[in-house]
Amino acid sequence: MELFTNQVLAGIATGAIYACMALAVVMIYQAIDHLNFAQGEMAMFSTFISWQLMQWGLSYWTAFVVTLAFSFVAGIAIERILFKPLAKAPVLTNVAGFIALFAIINSSAGLIWDFTIKQYPTPFGSAPFLGSQLISTHQAGMIGVTVLLLLGLYFFFQYTRIGLAMRAAASVPESARLVGINTSWMIALGWGMATAIGSIAGMLIAPVVFLEPNMMGGVLIYGFAAAVLGGLSSPFGAVVGGFLVGVFENLAGTYIPGVGNELKLPIALALIISVLVVKPAGLFGRQIVKRV
């Protein structure tokens, strides 16, 4: 029983990271109808920035905040420079854009910081949380930061005018322009926010997976699995999907004989395919109630 609880809690902790990645993917998907394959690499690069800042002597939280700001601006810049010109281009052109972005960021990170694995600090420590062996303080911190982030985003989208405008621009762009919303900048803003959210995921998972240019590969696949499971049109679904995938992954690795650590990733891919076959809209995918 203790093993079970332990695995569930650990699953929730990594699930928090998947939730962040899924949320970042869904935000961009809502804005431009494309899956950002480079989301993980963007998060990895941000994490390297924060690591570099700490190497230069900044405290963890200062580096954290500076990295958030950097990621936000970088996200906007990527949208303006690379994807705004592609807005009306065919799907494949966009896919090529994402793959290019992936390769560029991955190689630049390798070039600047090389491919050796680096330790990454945690501000929460790794002692048992509240004296319990079930979960470490870092895992608790991962859950805590994610919950705060999600609450903040909920209030932003539900109760601020700019949040309302962003939702409008994503749901009916033409009508949004007709009420005076600059939809193009709303998309850029969505990129900025998604990139910042991804950077949080990167900085929180780095102490677990260690810092290196390919650190986010697996995490992003879980993030995609979470987004597909929850429904690509639903930010709420993405978050729930993230936690579900995290728990599912851990339980499968523990209890299904022969899965272990090696087969966890194929399980995520199997999950993506099964969901797409059985329920393409995902658990919380939008079912628009429409009367004509």
């Binding site: 405008a165 939702r167 007709l178 005076g180 939809t183």
Partner: protein, 237 residues
């Protein structure tokens, strides 16, 4: 009377296809003007060209200021509210959020709150459903919501694209009654595009008839309604 909207030699294109062939008309401040014509005559294109949602050449002046080459979202800030064909409802959002979006360019939050109440007075059904997802409203209710959303801008000019489309005759009567009231009481100038010529001519003071991208007839709405020849050859009733 001063001219609020002045359109000169408007030509519009969808890709290689030209949809408007040098169309000119004007709308006086405070007037309720209607553009009539058959399917495909270019009525919707004219409205879309005014808001720069389709490629066009020619002169469009609003209150003496040129609107050409401005983005759709900046044209709204002149006080031009466009209710598009199909109503453009934000279906996944609540009725109240739809109204707030209509006022998204305004800064006076107290005024917005009181205007929402004013809209609920104009359209009581929207108050009953203010927390409901807008996509669940009936067609008529969604049209009311679209008009209310446009009014939340406190527009000087409202462009309405086929407001009667798909609505029951009684609902259309109701809606047109409200439009007339808004025009008279709130001093909002209205340009309405309609296929239902009979009803539009009852409501409007000025009318233009479009055929294949050109104005073929213009004048006082009553005169046009009373001219049997025009009615038969262009308006089909």
């Amino acid at each position: 009377m001063t001219q609020l909207l002045n359109v000169k030699d408007l030509r519009a294109y969808y890709g290689q296809v030209q949809a408007l062939h040098g169309l000119s008309f004007s709308l006086n401040e405070g007037s309720l003007t209607t553009l009539l014509g058959a399917n495909g005559a270019g009525k919707t294109t004219t409205l879309r060209a005014i808001c720069n949602m389709v490629r066009s050449t020619g002169g469009i002046e609003f209150d003496g200021k040129p609107l050409n080459n401005r983005s759709t979202e900046s044209i709204v800030r002149f006080g031009i509210a466009h209710v598009p064909q199909g109503r453009g409802t934000f279906t996944t959002m609540t009725v109240e959020e739809n109204l707030q979006l209509g006022a998204i360019t305004r800064k006076d939050s107290a005024g917005i709150v009181s205007d929402i109440e004013r809209m609920y007075a104009h359209f009581p059904v929207l108050k009953q459903r203010h927390t409901q997802q807008a996509g669940t409203l009936s067609g008529g209710e969604q049209q009311m919501l679209a008009v209310a959303r446009a009014l939340m801008l406190r527009p000087r000019l409202m462009l309405l694209d086929e407001p009667s489309f798909g609505l029951a005759p009684l609902v259309v009567r109701d809606l047109f009654g409200i439009l007339g009231k808004i025009n008279r009481e709130d001093k909002v100038s209205i340009l309405v595009v309609e296929q239902n010529a009979q009803l539009a001519l009852e409501l409007a003071d000025q009318a233009y008839v479009i055929e294949t991208g050109r104005i073929v007839m213009s004048g006082n709405a009553k005169d046009i309604a009373n001219n049997e020849e025009i009615r038969k050859s262009y308006l089909g009733y």
